[in-house]
Symmetry: C2
Subunit: 154 residues, 2 copies
């Protein structure tokens, strides 16, 4: 056993949330240039586009649930995409509060272009890690995303 009065000081560099955040920023940043510099999208806009492109029409609330994004962010992203003619709304059949969101043909095009570039970028990242490590990483990240353990008070 290790000496228990040890009391090593806390080291940020070994703190999982910090490492995850650094990795997310590092990997996110270069792709951000694609959707930002080339299309003027916000990260949330890109996400909304990606979800609608992948899954077809759905409501804003569904996008929130799928992508764990706050509704106000989604609301504004939807408005922006609509203003640029990439997305259209139509009243939802069953619930008069909700609207079905769908990409316009132009939105679809953008999604496909951006999607191809994203796939290529993802492939490049995974190649750097090797297939086994990449698969493991997926698994672990999903495990971290899923439930959410509450914080143990000291």
């Amino acid at each position: 056993m290790r000496g228990d009065g040890a009391e090593r000081p806390f080291d940020l560099e070994e703190f999982l949330p910090y490492l995850l955040n650094q990795a997310a920023e590092a990997t996110g940043k270069s792709f951000q240039n694609v959707y930002r510099a080339d299309y003027g999208f916000t990260r949330t806009q890109w996400r909304v586009l990606a979800n609608l492109g992948r899954f077809g029409a759905m409501t804003a609330a569904e996008i929130c649930r799928i992508s764990h994004t706050e509704k106000t962010k989604v609301s504004r992203a939807v408005a922006a995409l609509e203003a640029r003619g990439l997305l259209s709304r139509s009243p939802a059949a069953t619930d008069r509060r909700a609207e079905d969101l769908a990409l316009t043909p132009r939105g679809q095009e953008v999604f496909e272009t951006l999607g191809r570039r994203a796939i290529a970028y993802d492939r490049a990242l995974r190649d750097r890690l090797g297939p086994a490590a990449a698969r493991d990483l997926d698994r672990v990240l999903r495990a971290l995303i899923a439930p959410g353990p509450t914080l143990a008070d000291e």
Copy 2:
């Protein structure tokens, strides 16, 4: 080989930067409550505190390098911590532009308390993954953070 005209649509849920970001947010959020609700710190303020607590006095530029944080964020965080009496500045010996930053005794105390809670939280996260997966995760995350491959244009 797999059929090459395949053209599967891009799926956000398998995009590494997205997964990393989700995991970072999920794990970061509950600890954020500790430093935010209990101390009113910003994430950057907590990082600055953590670095000074761990490594002792250093300049703002060094904090930037160590924690990959933009200088303006650090600058403001330092100002805020100073205003609260948790940090003090002194002119750097060798370079008259720079200032050595150090935690005050009160800052040290806060760091120690928060550090203990961070360690406990980190341990809880790692326990959920198992020791082997946690170690692998560290390794892979550091690999992702380190170099940064440029984006292949399509």
